[in-house]
Symmetry: C2
Subunit: 145 residues, 2 copies
DNA sequence: AAAGATTGAGGGGTCAATCTTG
DNA sequence: CAAGATTGACCCCTCAATCTTT
């Protein structure tokens, strides 16, 4: 499948470039950015660990490791859920919010430069729609796995 | 950028599904498959380490680790280049060729099921072309990194 | 027992430094 | 010194097992 091989290569090249630029300019791992973004969008700037796992498509343990690092860096706090004491929220701290605000412009420029500027509007639409469909098909049912 | 987020998610979900299915049915890491494929296509069923790094978009050290494992599994041999003794070839062994032949059908079916069958022919063409363009733009010049 | 989350062990990749040959 | 490749230290993520709360 030619389209899949091309996607694999583009993903490898692109995520490496984005990671380098984000770490160089803002000293943030690429994976943190997505978490900061999700938390910032969320009501109360906080999400359950489980919600983060679903949204990011990481495993629960992956989310735990990630939040560990971000807590240590002071960007996020763990808050026990009062109504269900098994659960925790990851809550954005002021420092985390500030860090996201600082990193956003450069990162968005990187994405635009390496990805967006290479695509016509129509291509971008096609890709967004097709990729979403693929993700839904896999996470929606999972027959084999 | 919506298209980029969707691509990121699709890649995460898809590569996880493919990895699980390939490991379950054929007991092969997903990353080995691409190397076996490249070697099999290559003249003499062998490639220089450097060529593998370029083709797969892994770093040189990544290729070394990968080949280490495949040599240990008997799928590949390291062959010193006679005309330039700094270099090495990774050469497919008969066992490696057989392993690829055994794994191919199931893996191709996985790709078709999770990826190809979700796309129209036109979408697949658009994606293949656009993604190739993105890869070329990054690896071709690299202004920032 | 089931759900939410974490921990220990391990795979797989990167970078910077190193070794060898040209 | 430059090029091809490898090594050591390290990061990130996953799986299976575990702990706590429901």
């Amino acid at each position: 499948m030619r389209a899949w091989e091309a996607t694999l290569h583009a993903h490898a090249a692109l995520s490496r470039a984005l990671r380098h630029e984000l770490e160089e300019h803002e000293d943030i791992p690429l994976s943190w950015y997505e978490v900061l973004l999700l938390l910032n969008r969320a009501p109360g700037q906080r999400l359950r660990m489980q919600e983060l796992a679903d949204s990011t498509l990481f495993t629960p343990s992956g989310v735990t490791r990630q939040i560990d690092g971000m807590v240590e860096a002071g960007l996020v706090e763990r808050v026990r859920c009062q109504t269900d004491k098994r659960g925790f929220f990851a809550a954005l701290t002021p420092a985390g919010k500030e860090r996201l605000r600082a990193a956003s412009p450069a990162h968005l420029r990187s994405i635009q430069r390496h990805f967006g500027s290479q695509l016509s509007d129509q291509e971008a639409d096609t890709i967004a729609e097709a990729m979403s469909r693929i993700t839904d098909a896999i996470t929606g049912r999972c027959p084999g796995a």
